[in-house]
Symmetry: C2
Amino acid sequence: MHNPKTARALAAAAFMLAAPAAMAQTTTLAPRDVPAKTIPVPDDVSPQLQAVIAAPPTAGWNTPPTTPQGWQQLANSEATAAAPMVAGMAQRLHVKITQGKIDGVKVYYVTPESIPARNAKRVLIHFHGGCYVLNPAAAALPEAVLMAGIGHMRVISVDYRMPPTAYYPAALDDAMTVYKAELKTTNPKDIGVFGSSAGGALTLELMLQAKQEHLPMPGAIAVGTPMADLVDQGDSAQTNALVDNVLVSPNGFCQAAAVFYAHGHSLVDPMLSPLNGDFHGFPPAILTTGTRDLLLSNTVRTHQKLLQSGVTADLLVFEGMSHAQFTFDDRIPEDQQAFTEISAFLDKHLGH
Amino acid sequence: MHNPKTARALAAAAFMLAAPAAMAQTTTLAPRDVPAKTIPVPDDVSPQLQAVIAAPPTAGWNTPPTTPQGWQQLANSEATAAAPMVAGMAQRLHVKITQGKIDGVKVYYVTPESIPARNAKRVLIHFHGGCYVLNPAAAALPEAVLMAGIGHMRVISVDYRMPPTAYYPAALDDAMTVYKAELKTTNPKDIGVFGSSAGGALTLELMLQAKQEHLPMPGAIAVGTPMADLVDQGDSAQTNALVDNVLVSPNGFCQAAAVFYAHGHSLVDPMLSPLNGDFHGFPPAILTTGTRDLLLSNTVRTHQKLLQSGVTADLLVFEGMSHAQFTFDDRIPEDQQAFTEISAFLDKHLGH
C-alpha cells in the first residue's frame, strides 16, 4: 500500500509545480545545503566540447598573483603561449591579422580574406576578456578571429592598456578612443561592438559612456558573459562555484584581477559594474553564456534589464559550457555555432 | 615575492579565458567533483521570489507514490488545495474561469474581463505541467490565469486525461482534439499554444504530431522549461540537482510520474522526448527557464535546436528560479515580468 503520510507531504509540495507559491512571512531566508556530488561530463555535447568540460579547474584559481610584477608575468606568459594557437585559428578561418595604432591605442586588425559586399562598410570593434588584467596581445584574439572568420566582417581588436601599466579607467578610455575614431569614418549603424567577460563589461560601459557624451549608439552589440556586476556576481556564482572550470569561484583570480584594475575605485560605479547603469537607448544586443558559467546569472540579469529598458535583446545559453568557453576554439562545433548565431544577429541589425 | 611556480600554473590555465582549448585525446572523461556547499538566497531578486527560493525542497521528492491509487490521491489533493489559490489569482487579474468540453475533452475557458480589439480573434491553447500525472482540474490553471490576465488573450486550458485514468498517448490525443477543433473556427495564425514542464513538452509534441498530419502550424508557441528529453535530462539535471527546490533531482517524483504515464512506451519516442523530433517548420517560439532549474539544460538544448532548424526562437532565463517558478503566482514581480515578455512575443507573432 502507498504510504498516506508520504503522499500528503508530496501533495503539499509537488503542488508547487503549477500552483501559487506560499508568500512566506519568514524574516530569515534559509540557505540551501547542497551535498557533495560528482558531475559526469554530459553526453549531449560534441566530443570536442566534452574535452573542454572535462578539463580540470584552472590551476592556481585561488592563488592569484599578489604583486604587480606577478600579474605582468602571468599576462606576458599568456601572450607568448597564445601566439601559435591564434595563428592556427587564423589560418583555418582564412583571417589575416595585422597590428596598428588608432589615436595612440594599440589595435589588431583582424580581417577576413574575403568580405561579402553587404559587409563592405561594416566594422566590428572588439574588447577581449581576461578580468581587465589578462590576455594582452595575441591572447586577446581568439574571439576576434572567430567573429571575423565566421561572420566575414572586419574586426578591430583593441589591445587596451592594462595594469600594472595603467589602471581604471584606462581600458574604457582606450575603448572610447577607438570608438570615436571609427565614428569619424563610419556610419554608426555600420559599427558593431563586441566582447566577452571583461570585454562584455567594456562593451556595456562603452554604451554608457557614449550616452553620457551624447555620441550615437552603434548598430548592434554582442555581449558575452559580461562581468556586469563586480559587487554582486549573481546566484550562479554560488550555484556554479567549483562547477565552472574556468573562473571556478567568485573569490578566485578573476575577482582579484578586477579589484587590481579598479585600483581603489568604487566597484559599484557603473563603469566597473555596468549592471548598475541605465540601459535605455542601447542598441540591439545579443548575450551569450553557458549552463555551467559562473556568470550565467549576470548574463541573464543583463538580458532582463535590457528587455525591461525597451532594448531588443537576444539570449544564447550553451549546454555544459563554463565561462566564455564559446570563445575558445574554432574546432569546437558549439563555438562555431555560437558565432554563426551571433553574426546572424549582427547582420540583421547592422546597417545595410 | 610572487611564487613563480604558482604563476606558471595559473598562466597555463587562466590562459584558457580566451585561448584555444587543448583538444584532449583522453579516452576517459573525468567527472567534476564538487564539494558540499551552502548557497544563500540571492539578494538580487524580489522579496517575493526570495521567499520562493528559500522554500525547502519538495517534500517527499524522492518517495513518489508507487501505486496508481497513490498517484490519483496525490493529484486529487492538489486540485483541492489549488482551487482557492486559483480563485484569488483570477480575481486579482480580472479573469473569469468556466468549465466546458471540446469534442469530449475537458477544458477550462480562462477569459479576461476585457479583451482589446487586437486580441479579439486570437485564442491560446494551454497544457498544464505536472509530469503528465499531476495538476488536474484547478491545479492546472495558475499559468493559464497569468497568461490571460497579463496577456489579455482568451485561453483554453486543456484538462487532459492522465494516469491512472488514461496513459500515453492520451494527453497528446486530447491536445490534438482541441487543436483540431480550434482550427475549424480560427485562423491558425491567430492560435497560440503554450505550457510549461510536461505542458511545454506537449506543446512541442503537438507541433510534431500536427506536422505528421499535415495540419497548419499555429501562429506562435510559448514553451516553458519543457520535459523535452526523458532519457537525457541534460547537464543541469546534475549541476542543479538538490539546488532546484521543485523537481530537486533527476531521479525524483517527476521522472517516476513520466515513466508511469509512458506505460511501457519507449521514452526515446519524440512524442515523449520531443527533443528527438524534427523542429523544421515550427512556428516562432519563446522558451523560459531559470538559473536553478533542473531543466535549464533541456530548455537551452531545445532553444538551440529550434535556432538550428531555422525557427525564430527567443530565450528567457530568470535569476535564481527553480523549475517552472515563473508560473507560480501573480504576486511575484518576476512572474509578472515573465508573462509580460511572453505575451509580448505572442502578440508580435500571432496574426493581427
